[in-house]
């Protein structure tokens, strides 16, 4: 039985889809069978980030409605053959996904895959709640910024109340993934520090993804950053986060911050 991991955040634009692609690809590369499911009905984007936008025939809603079989709708990645994508539908009907339909698809995916990643839509409404419904684990993507941290707190509240696990009296295993972290700005006191974020959310850390130009390059070319630029700092941080998701006890190190003479002399006072 595979593990279901929801990648969620509340706030939009913090890196859920990027993180889903990067973590999923990293695990698939180690031979794990991984399915990435896009729950963002109406605004699908995971296909684009994965470079599979021209191969979409059927989608999640088609499968839940019995129009297509799961095996027909799953798109196999051209780079890693244990990596699959189930795209979101572009229908504007936000009620196209049903609770029962999702339960059936996730149940079937669990049988076939080691990891089922559910890429959540932004917000805290129905779509986001359906994406987290069956989760065993949750990756809460957070930027070191006040509105993102606040929304993550709301999402943590939902994970503790609206998931099947919560309703059964169990807990979803939650992890915070801090993205777009700028070590230099945090050191100067211009950005919430990792400790600030963790202390406020009181949730363990899965990894710190530094702000990095490679992430945009990867999305430009339609490849998870862990595949296209595996030696890049952000990719390495994702690869480590994937290992932690596997249960490996890997210490988190703060992203490297090259401190010049100017920084050392004036860094603390600059605002």
């Amino acid at each position: 039985m595979g593990k279901v991991v929801v990648v969620t955040s509340g706030k939009g634009g913090v890196g859920k889809t990027t993180s889903t692609a990067a973590l999923g690809a990293a695990l698939a590369q180690t031979g794990k069978r991984v399915a990435l499911v896009d729950f963002d009905v109406g605004l699908r984007n995971l296909d684009l980030i994965m470079g599979a936008e021209r191969r979409v025939v059927f989608d999640l809603v088609n499968v839940t409605q019995g129009v297509a079989k799961l095996s027909q709708a799953l798109i196999r990645d051209k780079r890693v053959d244990t990596l699959f994508l189930l795209p979101a539908s572009q229908t504007r009907d936000k009620d196209a996904l049903t609770e029962e339909g999702v339960a059936e698809v996730i149940g079937a995916l669990r049988e076939k895959f080691d990891y089922v990643f559910c890429d959540s839509p932004a917000g805290i409404e129905r779509g986001a709640q359906l994406a987290m419904r069956h989760a065993d684990e949750a990756v809460i993507v957070t930027n070191p910024e006040v509105s993102s941290v606040r929304d993550s707190d709301r999402i943590i509240g939902l994970l503790d109340s609206r998931t099947l696990k919560a309703e059964r009296g169990e807990t979803v295993n939650k992890h915070v993934l801090v993205t777009r972290f700028d070590a230099a700005r945090a050191a100067r006191g211009e950005m919430l520090s990792i400790n600030d974020v963790l202390e406020i959310l009181s949730t363990p850390l899965l990894g710190i993804i530094p702000e990095n130009q490679g992430v945009l390059r990867a999305s430009n070319v339609g490849s998870p950053v862990t595949l296209s630029e595996p030696t890049n700092a952000a990719a390495r941080a994702y690869l480590d986060a994937a290992k932690r998701l596997e249960g490996e006890d890997l210490p988190v190190v703060l992203p490297f911050h090259r401190q010049g003479l100017f920084d050392r002399l004036f860094g603390r006072r600059a605002a």
Partner: protein, 86 residues
């Protein structure tokens, strides 16, 4: 701002941290609770409407949350001649 403050200045992150801590403490406590301001507004409106002819827009209710105390401000605009004899 004194000269001393200029040297003490440590960036905006501590402010962000403190604002979040205060806000989230409040939001966590009230999660799943009905919206107090909305309830007060409805009930206060009902009481006022018993005695005064006012529209919804004539009553402004504002809440200011403080660390140890909060204030609820009710601003009722009563049109002249709007009083209803009880």
């Amino acid at each position: 701002m004194t000269l001393f403050d200029l040297f003490k200045r440590r960036g905006s992150a501590p402010v962000a941290r403190e604002r979040l801590q205060v806000l989230l403490a409040y939001e966590r406590k009230n999660r799943g609770q009905p919206d107090l301001v909305a309830i007060l507004r409805e009930e206060i409106m009902a009481v006022i409407a018993k005695h005064v002819q006012v529209g919804h827009d004539d009553v402004q209710i504002a809440m200011e949350r403080g660390d140890t105390m909060s204030t609820l401000e009710i601003d009722v605009h009563i049109p002249n001649g709007g009083l209803i004899a009880a």
